[in-house]
C-alpha cells in the first residue's frame, strides 16, 4: 500500500505562507495607510513644521552614524514633503504601489533621520509599514495596478505581525513597578486632563482611575492581539481598539498614532471583510480575478523568519545594556515604549579650555532651539550629542579642544529630581556610539535612584 509522504513542518509552513488569500484586507490596509500618510504630510506642511523642525535649527541632534543626513534647502525640503503626500495618494490608489511605498519609506526615513529629538515610535511604525507595502505583492483589489485579486498569506501575516509587535512590546514595556504598583505616570497625567474633559471632571483626579487605566492599558496591549486573532472575540476586540485609541487621543497629545492603529487594525479581520462590507452596502458582488498561486519559496519564509527575530530583538536590546532603559534611553529607539514616562529636566553645560584654564557655563540653546534643548535635557543620548555640538562650536571659534561637562537634573516618573549625567565626565571626549548598539550610557548616565528595573 502506498503511503503518502509527510511533507514536513517547513514545507507545510512554506505552503501555508504562500497559500493565496483574497487581497481585500491588504487593500484596505494600503488605502488607509496611504490616505493617512498623505494627510499627515499635508498637515506637517500646513502647520509650518517643515520650517520650524527641519530648517530653523542651526544644528540638528543627529543619530550617531547618520550625521551625514542633513535637511535640504527650503524649497526642496518642502517639495520632499509634498512628494511624500503624493506618494501616499499613489499608495492609496494603488498606482505603482510597491515603487510608491518604497520611495515613501526612503523619503520618510530620510526626514526622520534628520533630528533624533523628533523620534516617535509611530513614525518608526509608519516606516516599517511602508517597507512592508513595498514588499507585498499587489493584489489588484481596489487599485489602479492590476493583480490577480489575491495575495500570499504571508502578506497578511506580516502586516498583522507588525501591528502585533507594537501592541505586545508596548504592553511588555508597561510591566514595571512604576506603571503597575504606583500607577505613574498616569497618576501624574490624568489630573492635569480634568479641565480638558469637562464631562469627566474630577473623575480623572481619583487615584483608582489612574490605577484602573494603568492596568487596563497594560492588559489591553498585552492581550489585544489574541482577542483580535480569535474570530469570536474579534468584533469586540476591534471595538476595544477604537475605544482605547479614542480615549488616548482625547487624553494625550499623540497626533495621528491613534488613527493609524484604528485604521490599520482591521487587517486582523477575515481577508475578505472589505468585500463583504461592500456587498452589504451595494448588494452587488464585486468580481475579482481568479486566484493564481503566487510565486515564492523557502527563501521568502526564511527572510520573514529573520525579520520576525529582528523585530523581537530590537525592542529587547536594552536588556544588553546596564541601567533602566526608561532612564538611560539606551536601546529606546524602535522599542515601542509608547506614552510610558514623565520626565522634566534642566541642563547646563560647563566648558573648560585646558589650553587657557578658562571655565564658563553655557545653555544648550547656544547650539539648539528651545524644543531641541527641552528634549536634550531629559534624554542622555541627545545631551551627549548636544555636548559634542557645543565642543564643535568652540572648535570653530578657534579653541582647539574644550571639555564639556553637564549640570543635569531630571525629575522622572514622580521621583524627586536627581542628576542624570555624571558632572565629572567630559562629554566631548565620550564617543557617541552607533545608534543600535548604544552610546555607553553607563559611563555617562548616573544610576536611577531608587532603581526600578523593568
Amino acid at each position: 500500500m502506498h503511503r503518502r509522504r509527510d511533507p514536513g513542518l517547513v514545507a507545510r509552513i512554506v505552503d501555508r505562507a504562500h497559500a493565496p488569500e483574497p487581497g481585500w484586507s491588504v487593500a484596505a490596509f494600503r488605502i488607509a495607510f496611504g490616505l493617512l500618510v498623505a494627510y499627515s504630510s499635508l498637515r506637517f506642511l500646513a502647520r509650518g513644521w517643515v520650517q520650524r523642525l527641519y530648517l530653523e535649527p542651526a544644528h540638528h541632534l543627529t543619530y550617531p552614524g547618520f550625521d551625514w543626513v542633513r535637511p535640504l534647502p527650503s524649497f526642496w525640503m518642502h517639495s520632499m514633503v509634498i512628494v511624500l503626500a503624493l506618494l501616499g495618494l499613489c499608495i492609496a490608489a494603488g498606482v505603482r504601489t510597491r515603487l510608491a511605498a518604497a520611495l515613501f519609506a526612503v523619503g520618510f526615513a530620510y526626514t526622520e533621520l534628520i533630528d533624533a529629538s523628533l523620534y516617535l515610535n509611530h513614525y518608526w511604525f509608519v516606516t516599517l509599514a511602508a517597507l512592508w507595502l513595498a514588499l507585498i505583492p499587489t493584489s489588484g483589489c481596489a487599485s489602479v495596478d492590476r493583480g490577480g485579486g489575491t495575495v500570499p498569506a504571508w502578506s497578511i501575516w506580516a502586516l498583522r505581525g507588525q501591528l502585533a509587535v507594537v501592541y505586545v512590546f508596548a504592553g511588555i514595556a508597561k510591566l514595571n513597578a512604576d506603571w503597575l504598583v504606583h500607577a505613574v505616570p498616569m497618576r501624574l497625567w490624568l489630573p492635569d486632563r480634568a479641565n480638558q474633559l469637562p464631562w469627566a471632571g474630577t473623575l480623572l483626579e481619583h487615584t483608582w482611575v489612574a490605577f484602573a487605566m494603568s492596568w487596563a492599558g497594560a492588559a489591553f496591549d498585552l492581550t489585544i492581539v489574541g482577542w483580535l486573532l480569535w474570530r469570536r472575540t474579534r468584533p469586540f476586540a476591534y471595538a476595544a481598539v477604537i475605544a482605547f485609541h479614542l480615549a488616548t487621543m482625547v487624553l494625550f497629545q499623540i497626533g495621528l498614532f491613534g488613527w493609524v492603529m484604528i485604521a490599520l487594525t482591521p487587517v486582523f479581520f477575515d481577508p475578505s471583510w472589505p468585500r463583504r462590507g461592500l456587498e452589504r452596502l451595494t448588494r452587488a458582488m464585486p468580481t475579482i480575478a481568479s486566484a493564481g498561486r503566487p510565486r515564492g519559496g523557502r527563501a521568502v519564509v526564511a527572510a520573514l523568519a529573520a525579520i520576525a527575530v529582528l523585530q523581537v530583538l530590537v525592542p529587547l536590546r536594552h536588556l544588553a545594556f546596564a541601567g533602566d532603559v526608561r532612564w538611560t534611553e539606551e536601546g529606546y529607539y524602535g522599542s515601542w515604549r509608547v506614552v510610558l514616562t514623565e520626565k522634566a529636566g534642566w541642563l547646563e553645560f560647563w566648558i573648560t579650555d585646558p589650553a587657557t584654564g578658562e571655565v564658563w557655563q553655557v545653555d544648550p540653546t547656544l547650539v539648539l532651539t528651545d524644543w531641541q534643548a527641552r528634549q536634550a535635557a531629559i534624554r542622555p543620548d541627545l545631551a551627549l550629542t548636544a555636548a559634542h555640538l557645543v565642543a564643535d562650536h568652540y572648535r570653530t571659534a578657534g579653541r582647539a579642544e574644550v571639555e564639556v561637562r553637564a549640570d543635569s537634573w531630571v525629575a522622572f516618573n514622580g521621583r524627586p529630581r536627581q542628576r542624570m549625567l555624571d558632572p565629572d565626565v567630559d562629554l566631548a571626549a565620550h564617543e557617541r556610539g552607533f545608534t543600535p548598539f548604544g552610546f555607553g550610557a553607563d559611563g555617562v548616565v548616573l544610576p536611577l535612584e531608587p532603581a526600578v528595573r523593568t
Binding site: W49, L53, S117, L118, L120, N121, H122, P185, L188, W189, P191, D192, A194, N195, Q196, L197, P198, W199, A200, G201, T202, L203, L204, E205, F252, Q253, I254, G255, L256, F257, R326, E329, Y332, R337, V338, V339, L340, T341, E342, K343, A344, G345, W346, E348, W350, V359, Q361, R374, Q375, I378, R379, R405, D407, W409, V410, A411, G414, P416, R417, P423
Partner: protein, 365 residues
Amino acid sequence: VNRVARSPRLTVALLIPALLAAACSGGGDSKRTDTMESLAGSYVVPMYGELAGATASLQTSVEALCTAPSADALASAQQELRDARGTWKRTEAMRIGPDMTRRSAEKIDWPIDTSRIDELLASDEPPELTVEVIGTQMSSALRGLGAVEHVLFADGAAEAVQQPRTCDYLVSTATVAAGEAQAVNDAWHTDQGETPAFGDTFTGADDASTVDMVLDDLVNEALNLTERMTDLELRVVKGVDGPDAPPSDPIDVDLLASIHEGPAGLGVVDDLDRLQGLRIVFVDGLGPLLGTDLLDRVRGEIDAATAAFEALGDVPLREAAEQQTAQVRAAYDAVKALQITLSTDVVSKLGVTVGFSDSDGDSAG
C-alpha cells in the same frame, strides 16, 4: 442564538448607567480649577489691587511733596516708592495676563537711563512734562518707578523737588505708573472690549481649559524670574570653575552692573519681595497641587533663599556682592536650587510640559 444576541444588549444596559454614574461623579470643578480660583481670589487679584493702591498712594505723596516740599514729605514719598516697588516686585512671580499684554512694565518699571533723565530735567525740551508727554512720547528708559526713585533718592533731592520742572516730571511719572497699574487692575476685573476679564480666564470661568494655559504661563514666568535672579543679575557670584565652584576672587566688578539697583539700594529688598511672590504662587496658591513632600521641599527652598538674602542685612545688593561675596553666593545657590526644583519636580508634578514632543508625541521622554 438568543443568548448571544441578548448579551450585547445586556452589556449596553449595564454599561450606560455605569457610564452615567461615572460622568456624574466627574462633574464639578477640578482640583486644579479650585486651586486656581483660590490663588486668584486670595492672592493674585488682591495683589494687583494692592499695586494699583500703592502706585496711587505714591502719586498722592509726590503731589503732596511738590505742593509743600519738606523733609517729612520727602521721606513719606520715599516710603511710598519703596512700598509700590515692593508690591510690583511681588507681582513678578505672577506676571501673566493684562500687564504682559499691555506691556505695562514699560510704564511702571523699566531699566532707566539716568544720564538721559538728568539731561531731560536740565533742559527745557519738551517745555512741559505732562502726563501725556511722559506717557506717550517718552522712552520707557525715562519713566517708571526707577525714574521716580532716581529723583527721590538722589543727592539733593530735597532741593530738586522744589524745581517746577522736576516736580512736573515726578508727578507725571508717578501718575503714568499709577494709571497703568489701575488699568491692569481693571483688566483683571472687567471685560476689555471683546477680551474677557482676565480674572475669568485665570479661573476658567468661561472655558475650563484656560486654567491650564494660565498655569503653564504662571510656571514659565516663575522660571524666567528665577533665571533672571541667578544667571542674569547675580552672575557676578557664579562659580567660575563649575556649578559648585566658588566665584572669582576678587569678583569681576564689571558684572555688578547686571544688578539693577537705584540710589535707594533696594536690590536685596527686591529679591526678598520676588521670593515672597514665589511663595504666594507655589506655597500659598499652588501648594495643594504639589503634594506634601514637594510642597515641603519648595517651601524649604524658598525659606532658605529668603534667609540667605535676609542675612545680608540692610545693604545695597551691589555692595553686598562686593563685600559679602560668600553670603551672596549662598543666596544665589539657594535660588538656583529653587530654580532647578521648579524646572524639574514642579513642572513634572503640574504637568506643565506633558506636551510630549512638539510635533506629534508618543512619549513624554
